[in-house]
């Protein structure tokens, strides 16, 4: 077994993890580690540079020579950003979209997932497939009619175009929760039925607590999606007062680049990225797992 593994020829493409490691393999693993680390560093370097720029003075930024470490370190740009009314209202508007969508949409999605996984009704599979097909419809295809619809309904002067559609539920969430519910035995369902529990009671008292973990992960991913959304708010929001955070930082980029105030632009962008990044660092295991599952199934 070890003979072929130590052949120099086999080393380049050999990668199994649980194999007996020879000393040659160990050396190779160290080399691979160094390469992977250097490349990973290159990947995150622009983000490090982003944070560094946000602390730099205008003179340093426009000096034209390569500098990465801020000298002197200036934290004033962050307080300057946080004092801008538009930036704060961007955060508030984004939260105003997040809260109702996640609460109501999370509820409607989990209820539908429960019905699809645990209840019997005619047309179950056909209806589920029809719903699933909507994932494949790109937003760009429906954005003009949606824009017209929301304008006719008089929603475009408020955050309603971003809130109301989400409250009807999220198909990929229904899909993942349904998968999760399949792993919970249906005996619970039958026992509850015999006890005379109504269907909503079964969902609320038994299955909702059981899918808490999966629901939490899905809500987190949805939170990030709403937080980072740019195209829908750009199209649907008429007045600047309603702008969400992503639209605000993009307009900052437009406005302050003319004044070469890159430190301010970067500081605003760093703050805008922070919530999703912190969530990711805190829950990376479950987030990465749920991404990996989508490709394997």
């Amino acid at each position: 077994m070890d003979i072929s593994i130590s052949k120099p020829k086999s080393s380049g493409k050999d990668y199994q993890s649980d194999q007996v490691t020879t000393s040659k393999d160990k050396v190779l693993n160290i080399i691979i580690f160094i390469l992977l680390f250097l490349f990973a560093l290159t990947m995150v370097f622009p983000l490090i540079y982003m944070v560094a720029t946000s602390f730099m003075t205008k003179n340093q930024i426009l000096s034209g020579s390569l500098t990465i470490i801020p000298d002197p370190i200036l934290i004033g740009k962050y307080s300057e950003v946080l004092k801008k009314g538009q930036f704060i209202s961007g955060i508030i508007n984004t939260v105003k979209v997040e809260v109702p969508v996640l609460l109501i949409g999370g509820f409607t999605s989990s209820l539908a997932a429960f019905a699809f996984a645990k209840m019997e009704f005619r047309g179950k599979n056909a209806l589920f497939l029809a719903l699933l097909a909507t994932i494949m419809i790109p937003f760009a295809v429906v954005m003009i009619p949606q824009y017209v619809l929301f304008t006719k309904l008089g929603w475009t002067n408020s955050l309603a175009p971003l809130i109301i559609p989400g409250c009807f539920g999220n198909v990929s969430m229904i899909f993942f929760l349904r998968q999760n519910l399949y792993s919970i035995p249906s005996d619970l369902m039958d026992a509850a039925k015999i006890d005379g529990c109504n269907y909503f009671g079964i969902y609320w008292k038994i299955f909702l607590p059981l899918m808490k973990g999966a629901l939490g992960t899905q809500l987190m991913l949805w939170f990030m999606g709403i937080w980072n959304d740019y195209l829908a708010p750009t199209i649907f929001l008429r007045s600047e007062k309603q702008w969400t955070l992503q639209v605000v930082i993009r307009s900052f980029n437009h406005y302050y680049a003319i004044q070469s105030d890159y430190a301010l632009i970067m500081a605003a962008s760093v703050i805008a990225m922070l919530p999703t990044l912190l969530l990711f660092f805190a829950f990376q295991r479950v987030i990465i797992e749920s991404i990996a599952i989508s490709g394997i199934k």
Binding site: M1, S4, K7, K9, S11, G12, K13, D14, Y15, Q16, T21, I30, I32, F33, L36, F37, A40, M43, V44, P46, L47, T53, G64, S65, L66, M119, E120, F121, A130, L131, T134, M136, P138, A140, V141, Q146, V148, L149, T151, P165, C167, F168, N198, M224, W227, N228, Y230, Q246, N253, A257, Y262, I265, S269, M273, F281, I287, I291, A292, G295, I296
Partner: protein, 305 residues
Amino acid sequence: MAKTKVKVHRSAMAKREERWAWLFIAPPFIGFMLFMAYPIVFALVASTSKWTGVNSLLGNIVGLRNYIKIFSDAKFWKSMATTIIYMIGIPIGMILGMTIAMGLNRKIPGKRALTTMYYVPVVSSLVAVSILWAWVFNYDYGLLNGIYKFLTGAHGPNWLGDEHMVKISMIIFMVWKGLGGTVILYLAGLQNIPRDYYEAAMIDGANGWDKFRNITLPLLSPVTFYVLITSLIGGFQVFVEVQVMTPNGGPNYSSATVVFYLFEKAFTNGQLGYGSAVAVILAIIIFIITAFNFWGQDKWVKTID
């Protein structure tokens, strides 16, 4: 008699369950009808009208004239060509992603930290990182030209201001933004390959390349196929990074994509009927890719049986 009674009773219960279930799935269905099904039908009708949102939609039906105009518009073809050129990034991302995943699948230290580093761009806000890269690509003060000058002493290329360079810049950005996702999918795929396959191959005297070609590559084909299809579908919808980095579509419209063109026609020029026709074309392209997905899955994807 008793038997029928039980049956009647049962079906009443089943009916009750059914009514409740329909009620429970009603919200996503109403949402689907209002915000997906109706808009699609609407877009189809609107695409045949010279409609601006102000005039009457049905009073300005022009048949297929919008489509003919689109197909004879050089700007449309230019944006379509650019959209496809950007897809050069897909195989680059796949090869890099697979290579990195194979490295991460070995016995190396700091696996999780490395995976996190590769994945950070994926979870970062697209607008924020587009703003960041516009700064990195900045001709006078950007990081890339800073490094270029530091290394060569000469002034670097005009990353976003040159007609050809801007395409390369966008491809670099897209590979950077998406690579982490590909790495994670390939890593999960690699961990799914049973170890004894390699042991058996080794006993047969197979070398590393043989194993890669005959075991790894075919058994990763579901992931490869999934990444390819989702990247193609995503590739036809590229918009935000283009709008943030090159608000006017780049020098000589060289960075504009199909969705950029659509957005410009519909929301900047107010040609809603014309824009709808572009949307329908986009929908057809994506529908074809999806259909190809179902057809190709049986043909090319090898699974472990």
